[in-house]
Symmetry: C2
Subunit: 436 residues, 2 copies
Amino acid sequence: MTLTLQDCRDRDAQDLLRPLRDLFSLPAGQIYLDGNSLGAAPKATAARVASVVQNEWSQDLIASWNKAGWVDLPLRLGNQFAPWLGAGQDEVVFTDTTSINLFKVLTAAARIAAEDGPARKKLLTERSNFPTDLYIAQSVCQQHGLELVLLEPEEILPALDDDAAVLLLTHVNYRTGAMHDMEQITAAAHAHRILCVWDLCHSAGAVPVDLRGANADFAVGCGYKYLNGGPGAPAFVWAHPRVVNRCWQPLTGWFGHAAPFQFTPGYAPAEGIRRYLCGTQPIISLSALQCGLDVFSATEALGGMQALRAKSLALTDLFIRLVEERCQGHGLGLATPLHHAQRGSQVCLTRDEGLGLDGQGSGAYAIIQALIARGVVGDFRQGDGGLGRHKDILRFGFTPLYVGFEDVWNAVEQLRQVLASGEWREPRFHQRQAVT
Amino acid sequence: MTLTLQDCRDRDAQDLLRPLRDLFSLPAGQIYLDGNSLGAAPKATAARVASVVQNEWSQDLIASWNKAGWVDLPLRLGNQFAPWLGAGQDEVVFTDTTSINLFKVLTAAARIAAEDGPARKKLLTERSNFPTDLYIAQSVCQQHGLELVLLEPEEILPALDDDAAVLLLTHVNYRTGAMHDMEQITAAAHAHRILCVWDLCHSAGAVPVDLRGANADFAVGCGYKYLNGGPGAPAFVWAHPRVVNRCWQPLTGWFGHAAPFQFTPGYAPAEGIRRYLCGTQPIISLSALQCGLDVFSATEALGGMQALRAKSLALTDLFIRLVEERCQGHGLGLATPLHHAQRGSQVCLTRDEGLGLDGQGSGAYAIIQALIARGVVGDFRQGDGGLGRHKDILRFGFTPLYVGFEDVWNAVEQLRQVLASGEWREPRFHQRQAVT
């Protein structure tokens, strides 16, 4: 039996997480399936940032570092979100950006590995890792005389050997939504004494994460995707207690000092994760981010991550099924794993090339643009033009906090119409934007 | 003839910059002389950040990277402020923190120096540089096999020799308010092919800066002091065109890539100062900072930096004179140079130790606390307890944008009363705060 719009409405009516949607300010007439690129704005955020400016900053000025608790905000937010990462208290800070935090932990891992076994000369990662991860890894390798080894997913386990120093993986792949088994891979890497660095940009707040349970070494992740912290929100960094104090991270700013306000001339890192702070912390941005984290705190009473994950899988299952049922005959394929244990909170479609594409590649870019014009916001990720194994991707993120089942129906219906009408072939949908 | 309160009021009445004060939201009943630690809030900022959240983020979501011009904001703000630094267009970006930007430019300078002459093994700086500068320099030296050489001010010129790779100086000293001659020192360093990195935290927006005129190599500076960008605001970084493209900076995130949205696997730095960007940029913080920079743009019609500098010197001259006239007999000394060409926009007082201090050191900390209790906000910087040449400091910053001449009178009058009454000896003024 095929699904109907009414089936989807019924599921929204039964959805215990539905009230969370009201915590967000969403544009009317839009179905936003790009929360894995930039999360939506909590309703609380605008008033919160205005209040931080008008009350804490304007009125109490410098005294707010103590009075409003600014000085502890990176750690306080880390503690607030730690349970969602399977991390302990005082193990997480929100600070700087994912790229910068990755530089810190990769350098730390390279230093620890060099101490433990100077012959280890490889940093392993996935070829389709998010580019900034590859760029930062490239810089760290250059500085530390390591070889950067790029692997396909199935090559990862076989590549683990005693020559490798560090394994850097993104838990959920940004292009495909495929999720690694963090515990299994970490254990296999540890058998060769390889340090494991996990990028949680597409998993924190989206799928269950258990850093301590998986026995990971380091992790970083994004504040502006599933955590809804705002554009360019501070990122987080975590280090397992067994490694956190083993070395300096390289960005030795005063906020990571053991006694930052004693103004001593020599650097002495703070004990624990505070040493991963660097410069003066961005209080307005951190305050905005807190509104995003507060939504997760509110979710705890509604079942927490277990409930979010169940809804996320129901949304992505529904999208996959409806695309199969309703968009046949247009060359769409599925890049995201069907198996739940291997799927993040997004669905990525491919489109077979050469189907009347008028020299416009797969058409994936134009289809996404045509969908956006109809109020369905997903995004496009470019493939390798047939040179390798990466096809163009139509990417749809499903944030269970604010996406509903009727949204999924309507998104697929718009996709069906875009494909059936062929409107995506219009030239206006082929013009590239600066940021896509 | 001694000065009177009426003299100060007359000077405010004649002050052409006086209207700028109305652009700030200042707490009633307070004289804020700590703008060199955290600048005051422009009135425009609260509404601006709320609007970025409510309109740009909430409503246009991911489309705002193009539509609201988010992607160019670091460079747009850099271009807006460049004239105040004597920098050219497309030479400055606002991003990350001073500490992180310093790590970028010091690493770049170390790499360029190694290329130009591998025998150069010293990084020179000032012993009383701001601690985070010393910590970051320490980390860069450790990574690059350089020796960190700490100098007293009078030792700098004699220390310049062909063994030195990099000279890092803060233009205006945070403890004393003493200002270096950037042009003279840079020329002397260049005679030995030493690269010059200038930290402008206490000079940008406070004193005339001419990076191109002084022929500097790199500069960094703070957004939250004299620029009034908000607590932990993004910092800036500048590189002279002759060095900007010579090497990668180490934080090779995707925003510094030549084509960040093409998602290519190998890092290729952007041409020019964009390569000093790293991760996704903090849009809410950058938008808040823009309100601070807008005040400078408004100042251009009132005489620009020349008018600001004239008022700043008049304020600090007045403060010094009034302390001399009205606070005699309490052991106060002056740590800030009297000579205008050597003075920033702050006045730092010392207090001779042993004057009935009941074992409380110089009393400087308690005097500042007693002043704060009376609504005059300066700050305290600890000395070396008589071990070296650094005395405890009572520090007063004078931001000509919002501090007036009557403020100076009233601040000195409160200082006089604190000293005359001896109230600072009360135990409550000796309790240390987390951040001081």
